[in-house]
């Protein structure tokens, strides 16, 4: 029994785009027998290598199969690539998630965003292997779709993309983390930590802990650094929340100071204090000399101690 599948929105020989596969051509509608049931499929053939993909007509939309982009969409992509947006996500987890979503969605603009974002990032530092592969596959999909929609050769399509990204006669700019900081605006936390892609390993460390330099600055003078208003506000809040100490009179202050002087200020150190050995030496010089073994010269020999009297036979030891 053939399932009552909805009619596919594409006709035979239409060019469609399957996400992560690229431009395909609808080659026909097939009916196959699977587990005793007859199921209809839309057959797609990939243009680059002729690979066949079969999709049930009801699942075309959920799989992300769409019609080939038009010239207006291509022009919009070129405008985006030409634009001076140099904002790249430096948080590698977020970037990986976003790029994977864009690739799975399969939109032309999404591919352009992946290419542009990774290209901008590569101007700061070389891409890791996984992202380099992602960049390459996104570029391949983008170029093949643009070539199909503009009816030009892939060579021209790729050059069109690259002319938009880096015009002829200009070197690609080298970027610094500060540039990203400026373009990122308030995206401060996602910035410097991620340059080595290590933010995931630093999750356990509390983020609100001030760096040691700031502690020193705050200790030296109580000025609030102007670039950290949020932290200053937090510190003020903490100061309010802390219990207030009672105000001491002059005598109390003096006593407290005297106690502080009398008591050892530093924690008790383990081990012998330096110079203590010399004091002890002067106090007991005999102990300082190494003890000589054996009989002192000229001393008489000790008489042999008499052997212990053996108990008489028959006498029982212990209490009577």
């Amino acid at each position: 029994m053939a399932d009552a599948a909805p009619q596919p929105p594409f006709a035979v020989n239409d060019r469609v785009v399957y996400p992560n596969l690229g431009v395909c051509r609808v080659s026909g509608l097939e009916t196959l027998t699977i587990a005793g049931q007859q199921v209809s499929f839309v057959t797609l053939k990939r243009e680059t290598d002729g690979a066949t993909v079969r999709v049930p007509p009801g699942k075309l939309a959920s799989a992300g199969v769409r019609k080939l982009a038009g010239k207006e969409e291509a022009a919009e992509v070129f405008r985006f690539l030409k634009s001076d947006t140099d904002k790249a996500t430096l948080d590698w987890k977020q970037r990986a998630r976003t790029n994977t979503e864009r690739m799975a969605h399969g939109g032309l603009m999404g591919l352009a965003e992946v290419v542009k974002g990774l290209q901008v990032l590569s101007e700061l530092r070389p891409l890791p292997t996984k992202e380099r592969e992602l960049y390459d596959s996104a570029r391949a999909l983008l170029v093949s779709e643009l070539a199909a929609s503009l009816s030009c050769s892939p060579c021209d399509a790729e050059d069109t993309v690259d002319v938009a990204l880096s015009p002829p006669g200009k070197e690609r700019p080298r970027r610094t983390a500060e540039e990203f900081k400026r373009s990122g605006g308030g995206d401060e936390d996602a910035l410097g930590d991620d340059l080595l892609g290590m933010d995931g390993e630093l999750d356990g460390i509390p983020t609100d802990e001030p760096p040691p330099e700031e502690e020193n600055e705050a200790g030296a003078d109580d000025e609030v650094p102007p670039e950290k208003p949020a932290r200053a506000a937090k510190a003020a809040k903490q100061a309010k929340a802390a219990p207030k100490r009672p105000i001491l009179s002059d005598e109390e202050v003096t006593m407290t100071m005297a106690r502080a002087v009398a008591l050892p200020a530093e924690p008790k150190k383990r081990g012998r204090p330096p110079g203590s050995t010399t004091k002890k030496k002067s106090a007991s010089p005999a102990r300082a000399e190494p003890k000589k073994r054996g009989r002192p010269p000229g001393s008489p020999r000790k008489k042999k101690a008499p052997a212990k009297a053996k108990p008489a036979k028959g006498k029982k030891g212990g209490r009577p």
């Binding site: 680059t48 291509a74 022009a75 070129f78 690539l81 030409k82 290209q119 590569s122 070389p126 891409l127 292997t129 380099r132 592969e133 960049y135 390459d136 570029r139 391949a140 170029v143 503009l150 050769s153 892939p154 060579c155 021209d156 790729e158 050059d159 069109t160 993309v161 690259d162 002319v163 938009a164 880096s166 015009p167 002829p168 006669g169 200009k170 070197e171 690609r172």
Partner: protein, 170 residues
């Protein structure tokens, strides 16, 4: 196998050096084919795409790549995003590519530049796309620093081309 065919007469030493560079970069055999003539009805500067379509084929096996060399100028292309100079042209993932030596005055001294352009177009024949590394031969060829680089690939492009070559039939 890469086959090099010339549309103009060129110095054999230059061709030998070019073949050596191609062999070093791709690790496949490279040899000179018989020279071919320009197609009729076309004049300089040539439209690279049309010239590549019309140029006579050379004897080659399946999956062989043919590189044509010309001393004629190629027409600048007008693309949707701007004009771009044409140093060569190729059919992506297919069998033939073309480069122009018109910009190089001294061929012997400019052998690294010629080889870099040759690597670029032949790399496209093995499905390589433009690279992000300025030292790689797959970097966009219209950047000013392209001609100063060595005729080599970056690690990523080298490995990708090796994978593609391993899948080839000849």
């Amino acid at each position: 196998m890469i086959r090099v065919a010339t549309l103009d007469e060129l110095d054999p030493q230059v061709l030998k050096g070019l073949c050596k560079h191609l062999y070093t970069a791709f690790g496949v055999g490279t040899e000179l084919s018989e020279p071919v003539s320009y197609p009729r009805g076309m004049a300089e500067p040539f439209d690279a795409e049309r010239l590549l379509e019309a140029v006579p084929a050379v004897r080659a096996f399946q999956d062989d790549k043919v590189l044509y060399l010309t001393r004629a100028r190629l027409k600048e292309r007008t693309l949707a995003t701007g004009n771009v100079p044409t140093h060569g042209h190729c059919r992506y993932g297919k069998d033939r590519a073309l480069i122009s030596l018109a910009g190089v005055k001294d061929l012997e001294a400019g052998l690294p530049v010629i080889s870099r352009h040759a690597l670029h177009v032949v790399g496209h024949l093995w499905d390589l796309y433009h690279c992000l590394d300025p030292r790689c031969a797959m970097f966009p060829p219209w950047t000013p620093s392209f001609d100063k680089g060595e005729p080599t690939f970056c690690t990523f492009c080298r490995e990708k081309s090796e994978r593609k070559i391993a899948l080839a039939k000849s």
